[in-house]
Subunit: 313 residues, 2 copies
């Protein structure tokens, strides 16, 4: 038997056919073009699912057990309603009903980060652990919580919004409307902001040189690269950034104390030593005597596809 | 059948005999005198248990199904080991083995706040809710998490340390050794600190008058009383304090999104309107569209006794 996992992201929709061991057999994607009408986007998604099945040499209705969709936003797993999605600007959309107009086999839908967390806990970095957390750190921060081997949803399917817990009272403005959220310090967007400020303040910095004096060109990679070349300003920024990340992770540990936290996102994969720096800062400061492990997520964004394919009801 | 619940607190040890509906039939307590040897304290506790059974006209070994103990600190529920207790200054004490030397019927042990959370979720403010949190706000902050109707312990039995999540980077020193923890802003100890500072800065304040100029006499009650008498400084302090409490509650909601948070502690019970102020601040700022309810815990400290009596294995 085969399964299809879909990652319904704000920039792309991806679909993968997986086998019973969750090996990816075929994968396809299309741009989301999210400003179009939802019906049109959903029609594209359904066509993508069909196309991916065909690419794997399979018949959607005969060979695929079910389609699981990981979607950005708060999803009511039971009703298939998209409760809230800030990026899509949607509230209370019966997404599953829309999708069922096109796809005639069982379809399940779940928050994308929850899918990723599920996949990591079944097959990845947190495999076999009872209680774990997945945090993805990129332009935004998202997260999923696994309790006793299952996704923990919270009352209104919005648990795991780790990025929006305040760590600096009256601090930096956050895109959510509050101030001082962890995401406003620990996302790569925050790193870019701080690197821009440092480059402007210190034109002698390698970061300034690397963007040819145009800080609009700053990316999260630049402070890491400049730090590797021993630029003091970049080293300072990257170390502070590691402290901000550690701060939120420690908070998660003091509240949830999971067996492990898996961290996803390109930045960590591409800067190998960085996880160790963060991890050291965490274990120095954790309340209590033993440490929740801080691990690199193993699955990359395929985690959403694989986790989505694992949805069962 | 009857049960005994014990609250092993840092100042007192209490015991209660409860019936099957968890009505308290008899209650007794003794001072903990915690600087004595643990064996001596445990012997006192065992005598207290015996005495409480007698007071209820019952025979401990014949009529009591089991004794449940709610204890300050991280408790390994399975092994009965006290993993860590900062106030008792203890680590890795096989508490259950010590107790079993004296008590010959089944004994179970659990963190006190977890017992309280369990009691509230079975019979109190959060009755029947799937996922709930109990937070007690007093001189310190403690908490318990109920997930799917059961206590959530975390990897090393230390989950729910809500008081020690940082809300103000590099903020006020916390007794845990870190800076800026929620407890350093939202405990009654923090309120007393801030009221002392305000009284010193503003001798024209009613708070200064109420302590006759001796700020050592400040208690958490004074800013509340002065605020009721329209003292601007006290009103400012109390409102800021409400904001600090709300800040941490919002963080808990954005991470765990429980169905409800029950708040325990004398301060909330004795200042009726205060919960509404905090609750309003929380619902104004919660991420997402629906609100986790903020409720007054119903059980007072009997919650620990009742919850302890409910421990089953």
């Amino acid at each position: 038997m085969f399964y299809i996992g879909v990652n319904f992201d704000i920039t792309n929709i991806s679909a993968a056919v997986v086998d019973e061991n969750r090996n990816i057999i075929a994968k396809e994607s299309v741009p989301t073009l999210r400003h179009r009408k939802l019906e049109v986007i959903i029609a594209d998604m359904a066509a993508l699912v069909e196309k991916t099945a065909k690419k794997a040499g399979l018949d959607l209705e005969k060979d695929i057990n079910h389609v699981g969709i990981g979607c950005y936003g708060s999803i009511n797993r039971k009703t298939g309603v998209l409760v809230y999605s800030s990026y899509f600007g949607l509230r209370n959309i019966p997404l599953i009903d829309e999708i069922k107009k096109f796809i005639k086999i069982p379809v399940f839908i779940e928050n994308d980060a929850n899918c990723y967390a599920l996949a990591e806990s079944r097959m990845g970095a947190t495999k076999g652990l009872k209680n774990s957390v997945l945090v993805t750190i990129g332009t935004a921060i998202s997260g999923g919580i696994i309790v006793r081997g299952e996704i923990y949803h919270g009352a209104f399917y919005g648990a795991g919004e780790f990025g929006h817990h305040v760590v600096v009272l009256d601090g930096e403005k956050c895109e959510c409307g509050r101030n001082g959220c962890w995401a406003a310090y620990a996302s790569s967007t925050a790193l870019v902001r701080d690197a821009r400020i440092a480059a402007i303040r210190h034109p002698e910095s390698k970061m300034f040189e690397m963007v040819n004096g145009d800080v609009r060109l700053m990316s999260y990679k630049i402070p890491f690269e400049a730090a590797m070349e021993d630029d003091v300003y970049a080293k300072d920024i990257v170390y502070k950034y590691a402290r901000y990340i550690a701060l939120g992770l420690i908070n998660i540990i003091n509240i949830l104390q999971p067996d492990a936290i898996a961290i996803g996102g390109k930045m960590f994969r591409k800067n190998e030593g960085f996880l160790d720096v963060v991890s050291k800062l965490v274990s120095d400061k954790t309340f209590g005597q033993k440490d929740t492990k801080i691990l690199l997520a193993e699955m990359d964004y395929d985690g959403v596809l694989i986790g989505a394919s694992m949805l069962e009801k």
